[in-house]
Amino acid sequence: MEEEPRHLAELYRMAVLGRLTAKIVHEITTPAGSIRSNNEVLARSLDALGKLLSDATVKKCAPPAKALDILETLKNLAGVDKIACDRISAVVRGLKTYARVEEGELRKTNLNDLLRDTLKLAGVEFRNRVTLVEDFGEMPAVECYPQSLSQVFLNLLVNAGQAIEGEGQVTVRTRAENGWARISISDTGTGIAPEHRDRIFTPGFTTKPAGEGTGLGLVITREIVVDHHHGTITFESEPGRGTTFHARIPITHPRNRS
């Protein structure tokens, strides 16, 4: 029975990943398609360029304008390929961070980096309609279970994005305050109805359509923050204006305090 909560968290973690898969594929497909196309153009352009240059050499005249034009295109494509590779790497890094099985060992972690990786993953869900704002403060390394915290961040971010109908903004703030790391995730979404405030941490409570919400995200989030990290999770919400969730994690895990 001891094992059960962790087991549930693990199942839920994989379910969240499963739901994101189509979007992740999309996020990788675009830059990959660009790179493939560019590679074809590159090969042909080099052929054309070679021919132009050797013709010019034979005729003992300057390289034609067309050659310079091709060079310009090649430079552009190299730039695009770099951006495309960076985009793919960022998603893959987010995936690696998130999909890695929790080793169950405390590790000193830079939470800003962890958040950045998780944001890349969450971003695929609503890149087109939600603006993500990072407001990261200076943070000491925090002793934590990084994979579990990555799951906490993703749950909160996905909830924030889902609360926004149409366009809006999600802001992620980090601050170090007297031995605690605070991570706040704000959205400009629908807010939480007063009659739901007491219920959102109840297993199975969801306002999302059947098949979309399990009502487990916040349960698992609280368990990881409160039970595993001895932290706190609180929220403020104003219907029609938005919600902010605050997770506070002690910088030194109590287990290691002298």
Binding site: A22, K23, V25, H26, T29, T30, P31, A32, G33, S34, R36, S37, N38, E40, V41, R44, S45, A48, T73, N76, L77, V80, I83, A84, N128, R129, E167
Partner: protein
């Protein structure tokens, strides 16, 4: 023929990199005039006043989706062929709405350059054909009403 302006192709995608790649490919293979837009709103503005042969649009874009954009294109330039170039995640929703805008072709990302070229080439042929057909019809119309005028004059002269 040589004095004709080159066929005009509009490409709309919120991803700059897609436009850059497609543009580079088409410039290498064709003489088309290529107009790329990352903001659908700007593409619409362009389409209001500039005649084009083909509009290729992404589906999922902020503010206006590809089908809304192509519907606008249809309104301003009914003859310009409409092509949807879309990622996998939005396939279902795209297919559902295809009939509404009278899509010429539906292409999936990651696209194949040769296939894209074939589609654009045949779309341009079709647009050219439609245009010349319309010109002929209106020429016939004019001829027909001229004939009626003459007929009316003749009748008046004899009656």
């Amino acid at each position: 023929m040589a004095s004709n302006p080159p066929p005009a192709v509009v490409i709309v995608d919120d991803e700059e990199m897609v436009i850059t790649s497609v543009r580079a490919f088409l410039r290498l293979e064709t003489e088309y005039a290529i107009h790329g837009f990352t903001l659908p709103g700007e593409a619409v503005k362009f389409l209001e006043t500039n005649p084009v042969d083909v509009v290729v649009s992404d589906y999922l874009m902020p503010k206006m989706n590809g089908l809304e954009l192509l519907a606008k294109s249809k309104q301003f330039q009914p003859e310009a062929a409409r092509v949807l170039l879309t990622g996998h995640a939005d396939k279902q929703s795209a297919i559902r709405a295809i009939n509404d805008v009278g899509l010429y072709q539906y292409l999936e990302k990651p696209w194949d350059n040769q296939q894209l070229l074939l589609v654009i080439q045949s779309a341009i042929e079709r647009t050219t054909l439609l245009r010349s057909l319309r010109e002929k019809i209106s020429a016939l119309d004019t001829a027909h009403s001229n004939l009626k005028d003459i007929q009316a004059k003749l009748l008046r002269a004899f009656l």
